[in-house]
Assembly symmetry: C2
Homo-oligomer: 110 residues x 2
Amino acid sequence: MMESFKINDKSFACPVDLTLNTIMGKWKPVILNNLMDGKKRYGELQKLLPNVTDRVLTKQLRELETDGIVTRKVYPVVPPKVEYSITDRGRTIKPILDAMCDWGSKFKVD
Amino acid sequence: MMESFKINDKSFACPVDLTLNTIMGKWKPVILNNLMDGKKRYGELQKLLPNVTDRVLTKQLRELETDGIVTRKVYPVVPPKVEYSITDRGRTIKPILDAMCDWGSKFKVD
DNA sequence: TTATATACTAACTAAAAGGATAGTATGTAG
DNA sequence: CTACATACTATCCTTTTAGTTAGTATATAA
């Protein structure tokens, strides 16, 4: 049988593919970088990422949640209050983000 | 003025975005991993990646070439012979691929 | 009673990425 | 003269991803 890599029911033949699939998404790296500094409410994330729409922000957060990278904590209050934080698994992604940051930084201009 | 990161005329506000944009593409990581072992002819890559079509393989190779990650050497013979190899810049991506490989490997199942 | 704040959801559109299939160019071997 | 090998290119289609705009729920404050 062929070896495979699984994260919440999605299967990949190659570990790199699994990783890319998990942390890709136009806004996921920024979201993660922000959450590395501590938990954030939905509205805070909105302000930190002014160019992402609600629909997309929510979607990326849900995917990260499904993959066990972030947790979503809902407070039963009105108006609603929801906090997002990074999980332990999520923290293990940091070396990758750092490596990507280092590589990309070599292309800085003025 | 805002800082930015540029790779062949594409601008990014964040180094991670530049990196993702450069190495993303469904087949780029595999292509790169294969080229790390040494140059390959087009037909060899085709055999190594049996699930990618010509159109897409060519496209990914061209993008990698444009970004200075691989070089394309054409021999003026018939039938054609073209060799792809990784550049020095391309080799610097290895730590990222390795980090992604390590992370994804934690999700291995039987 | 009305407005407010917050975190969404719905319906739709647009753009990007990837895939399928078929075809092209041409020196050389037979 | 014909077939062959190789590395593509051209069309068209499907899927995936992202973006736009508008709307919802509801305890509380005024």
